[in-house]
Symmetry: C3
Subunit: 362 residues, 3 copies
């Protein structure tokens, strides 16, 4: 399968700058592209890679095209409004996503008699569907995935292989649960009685709203009384931990290995870098950005950026960082001051009598 650049440009509403008759047969990154590949450039940071690229063609913006050509770029460019979006369109032409499986209800899936399966359900072998589970339309449950009693899934959900939903977990529509994720395990709460930790029963549940994606091996614990909630459109990367009772807002994006302790309330559009951690019972405002590895220990208002352990606002974090970097310099200054002062003290008449001497002299 191959196409000419002119054909692509027409489909993408783009303009060819160079030889539109070139044919391409695949997509590649700027670094890996060969003379049969198309790539894309959507940031100044990649300009160097673009200039060194062996790609047949590069999708880019008008502005970046101009810069690239000024700097001697010889590759044919296709100018489009949104290079990444256009690139994805081209990529899917060469590499269409595998079509939805037509497996239907595998005879080797395990489905309780009380479960209700929506039309278009795909249940792979060893998928497990407990009592009173309801699946909406077109859900897919992978091999070995376990959906325990009383769970409810909306339409078009995918639960990948070996993921586990404990009892009474609710998924909205178009939710994706990746392999080995666990939703609804008991929250980590104990009472300390006579030298032992006694489990606090967790009678709440987990609610995952529409369009949420939960990464591989990510865990979301059930609430003690109410539900732990992941808001609409939120995306959790792999190995994220959301503890009991958390209320995560809409359209949050958390990178891998983030951990949110119990009973936190997080606003909408919050972003967290990898390995960030939030202590229990804090409230974080909408639009906040938490840096990678940051440790948040107190409530945060809407909209700021926070870094460090304990997390402070970006400005303070930078100040702290450079403050530490410049400590040797500061020590040096103090040492010099100390020496200069000692010298001054020596020059100085230092006894009362000396003082008097001068005065009397005067």
């Amino acid at each position: 399968m191959s196409f000419t650049l002119d054909e692509f440009a027409q489909n993408l509403d783009g303009q060819v700058r160079g030889d539109g008759n070139l044919t391409i047969s695949d997509v590649a990154s700027l670094e890996n592209a060969t003379s049969a590949d198309i790539s894309y450039l959507d940031s100044n940071k990649q300009l160097k890679a673009a200039l060194a690229s062996s790609a047949a063609a590069i999708l880019t913006t008008a502005e970046l095209a101009e810069t690239a050509q000024k700097r001697g770029c010889q590759v044919t460019l296709i100018v489009v409004d949104q290079p990444q979006a256009a690139f994805i369109e081209v990529m899917l032409r060469f590499r269409p996503m595998p079509p939805r499986s037509t497996i239907g209800i595998s005879p080797r899936a395990i489905v309780s008699e009380t479960a209700v399966l929506g039309e278009g359900s795909n249940l792979f072998p060893n998928a497990y569907i407990g009592e009173n589970v309801t699946l909406g339309k077109n859900c897919e449950v992978g091999p070995g995935a376990v959906i325990q009693d009383g769970c409810t899934l909306g339409d078009d959900c995918i639960v990948h292989a070996n993921a586990v939903l404990y009892r009474n977990v609710t998924l909205g529509n178009r939710v994706i649960i990746h392999a080995n994720a666990v939703l609804g395990a008991d929250g980590f709460g104990y009472r300390f009685v006579n030298g032992e930790f006694i489990r606090i029963p967790h009678t709440g549940s987990v609610i995952i709203e529409d369009d949420v994606e939960i990464g591989a091996a990510t865990t979301v614990d059930r609430g003690m009384i109410g539900a732990t909630v992941i808001g609409k459109g939120t995306k959790l990367d792999n190995q994220v931990m959301i503890a009991h009772n958390c209320q995560i807002g809409k359209h949050n994006v958390y990178a891998s290995q983030v951990g949110i302790a119990g009973s936190c309330t997080i606003g909408d559009y919050v972003q967290m870098g990898g390995q960030a951690g939030i202590v229990d019972h804090v409230t974080i405002g909408t639009g906040t950005k938490i840096g990678g590895k940051a440790g948040v220990v107190s409530n945060l208002p809407d909209g700021g950026a926070y870094h460090g352990i304990p997390a402070v606002n970006e400005k303070e974090a930078i100040r702290n960082h450079f403050g530490i970097q410049r400590l040797p310099e500061l020590r040096q200054q103090v040492k010099q001051l100390s020496e200069q002062l000692a010298e001054l003290q020596q020059q100085q008449p230092t006894t009362e009598s000396d003082q008097l001497e001068i005065k009397s002299a005067a």
Copy 2:
């Protein structure tokens, strides 16, 4: 199902302060409660939430009841000794835990002929029981959970869905293993020979003592020679990592994403906050508290609290934290000193002759 407050008070050995005829039909947190819910208050921190709560009634202590009523609380209160314990009792009245499954040995479980299953065993479909496995009484093995050759479980253990026990792992009584946890994978040990890392065989095992709870996706590696041990009553949250040869004491509590490197020895009643990490081969005393995200790099005696990377005792950690926060102030002070000193130096007779001049004058 609903009860009057008087009925509850009687059962809980509590005293009603307000209208005992009110009926309630569920439990809720102070924040989410409606006029048919009962909630609880057991800390001054929640006093504000209690005053703003729409709950029909609140379980609390005599002391908190007095404070709340002084501050104008209108909600009916039930005074009890232990509000949380009483609340849990009430919660379980409205929301009884699902009864133990009566599934028995599912015909779709996979059970080797050499396995010995205690009476009352529940094996869900796709549970896998290897050769020479012994299960005590009333154990439950969830769908897809894998218990490999030679494992021994005590009585009343629960191994949740898709958890994996490698060969020869031993569980005591009343142990709970959550979904997708892995016990007994080979320890991470290699010898570097001729430019390659060669696996060190791990012939040891994992021993989990009575009343331990292991969180979802938590991993405990097997020892090289002896066993990795998790002591009686210890609770590990989700995504915790315990490396080979560790000896974890009794009644430890580790929050999510804690990592303990190889061959550590940890005392009893040690608590660790989320994402804390311990380097290999250290010994940590009984009753120690390790803060969230702390990085312990040396032995710790009994009983202190430690924070930071590397972890230092709490007092030093606070001092370090404020030391960094106050660096700009310190720099400013040094700058001022420097200026004042320069001024002094200028005022000062600075040559030997000047000095002599003064002296001669005297």
Copy 3:
């Protein structure tokens, strides 16, 4: 089963210093050894443990033997070139690794008709092999492990229980994938369009080269365009996260809970301590050592050691650490200087007229 020390010494090409007729019947660590056990000593750090050990015999080097005996060690020693290697040989004599299973293709494994299985394959019950999967010779797929459509495994691979390989993942020869690891989940990449995060399709794959070991619950995401690659001989501990598009070199060793963000390029022989994290799009040189919990935020050249958040070279990290530790001392110094200076200023004639007075006096 028991052997005399002389027999062992002969096999290991070692020299007995003490009673060669002693028989031993098992191996143990220095701490746990009884009078029927052999142990080993290969570092000065363990010398104290060796002197206190109840072992029947200790494998050690000539140099350590001399030191130990000078310090009064009474235990029989066997002097060998490489004590750990010799100890492993002895350990495997007493505790041979369980022989390879002879299960073959379990009738309860799920194998698609289009899969090609090499000779010597072991597929456990509930192992799942998708369409067009190819297995080399002598591969083993554990209970509940899932190998999805289009995956290719070389010879002698082991995929442990409940691990998941998404479609089109490639393993080289002798690759070990531990329980509940996930290879090939979609990379965590989204475009922000009209207030929502839209998934970027990930058409790339994951390539695991020869002799790689992947720990339990570790996740390696598939690339967007090309493959995420784990180089030959690299060992990843449990709960490690490798994000999409990363190119990990050969013979890397990463301890547990390390996280590498997207599109990083890592050289060969790189070592990372537990919970270290690397931001996206950085390049790390060959032979680099990244400390536990370090946070790398920029490219690193070959061969250094780095610590801290953000990670700096070891020397600077130590300087920063002690700089912070010594802040109270620095503050004290500044306070003293300030006091001394104030004193000087007071002693000092401070007005123009005072100055003149002195001068006139002179």
